[in-house]
């Protein structure tokens, strides 16, 4: 009988502790919501949106670009040129954020597929223009921007 009483007392104590903890959390949460609503303005909203955008997964984009050059070039050479141009223009930090990579180069159609983080796609085109100015490429024709490598490769194979 005594054992049963002790057991029920322990259970009651645990339940009471859990109830107190839950109540405290609810009170804290309510206070936070009230504080947030009191300070809610465009500035705070912008901060939230920015934080949310940072948390969002960065999507990749695949650029199909026709790179005409008088001397022959290879995939690794293209990557080297692109890296140098991008770092020269935007610096190493932006380069690591954009992580541009030449995935495919078709020597017949002269088209290449470059993968880049979505918000840096225009930077890659400027880096290629920089290479055109340095006369590494005689023509740089951006053809398409796709969301998948498969589609991009399909377009790169068409003359």
């Amino acid at each position: 009988m005594e054992l049963l009483e002790v057991g029920s007392l322990v259970v009651a104590l645990v339940a009471l502790t859990l109830a107190i903890l839950t109540l405290t959390r609810l009170v804290v949460l309510e206070r936070r919501i009230k504080h947030l609503l009191a300070n809610l303005n465009t500035k705070v909203l912008k901060q939230f949106v920015k934080r949310f955008e940072k948390q969002k997964k960065h999507k990749n984009r695949y650029l199909v670009v026709k790179l005409v050059t008088s001397r022959g070039t290879s995939l690794s050479e293209l990557q080297k040129y692109l890296d140098e141009a991008f770092i020269g223009l935007y610096g190493k930090k932006s380069y690591s954020e954009a992580s541009p990579k030449v995935l495919y180069y078709n020597e017949k159609t002269l088209k290449s597929v470059i993968r880049v983080r979505s918000h840096h796609r225009w930077s890659v085109l400027l880096a290629l223009a920089y290479l055109e100015r340095k006369e590494i490429f005689s023509n740089v024709c951006p053809e398409r921007i796709t969301g998948t490598y498969r589609k991009a490769k399909k377009y790169a194979e068409i003359a």
Binding site: L126, E132, N139, V140, P142
Partner: protein, 190 residues
């Protein structure tokens, strides 16, 4: 040189090119070549007999002297140099807003400035005025050699990288240059 230029223009789908060293309008391989005349603010400009795009080139605030005589013949104002790198010349920007003449920016010069790491606060001021529709901007290639002539999408990328909205960047490359040519009676898309 002209042949190579036309060839590259065809690859990049340009239909009109405005050139400095031309005497008259020409059409070669379906590409229209339009002459450009530089207006000298020092002399009294006389309306040219042949059709051409009359541009005043201002690289410093003191070169932005827009007398009534100059304004009468002027098609657009090309802004460069100090006016792009220094935002102190408020009066010059106000003058550009007041005269309501289209402003031409030289992409080649802007790219050089970016590559040499120059401060582009003046350019940012101009782009802000354009974004608020207080001035009209058209982007010209300003190419001095074939390698400085880029694809229109590259220029679009340049304007977006400089912070312009997509609609404004698109207008600066399509509608605005076309309207400059239309106003001086040189119809044709760019």
């Amino acid at each position: 040189m002209l042949g190579q230029l036309i060839e590259k223009a065809l690859v990049y789908a340009y239909s009109v090119i405005v050139l400095q060293d031309l005497t008259d309008i020409k059409t070669l391989n379906n590409v229209r070549l339009i002459p450009r005349t530089i207006i000298d603010y020092g002399n009294n400009p006389q309306p040219a007999k042949s059709k051409s795009l009359k541009v005043l080139v201002a690289r410093a605030p003191e070169e932005l002297k827009l007398s009534n005589q100059v304004l009468r013949v002027l098609s657009a104002i090309e802004v460069g140099g100090k006016l792009l790198t220094d935002a102190r010349y408020r009066k010059s920007y106000v003058k550009l807003v007041n005269v309501r003449k289209p402003v031409i920016l030289n992409a080649s010069e802007i790219m050089d400035m970016i590559l040499s790491g120059k401060d582009l606060s003046g350019l940012n001021t101009l782009l802000n005025l354009y974004e608020r529709s207080q001035i009209t901007i058209a982007l010209g290639s300003g190419a001095r050699s074939l390698s400085e002539m880029h694809h229109p999408i590259t220029y679009y990328a340049l304007l977006l990288e400089l912070g312009l909205s997509e609609a404004k960047a698109f207008s600066a490359l399509t509608a605005n240059p076309a309207s400059i040519l239309r106003e001086v009676g040189l119809n044709g898309a760019t």
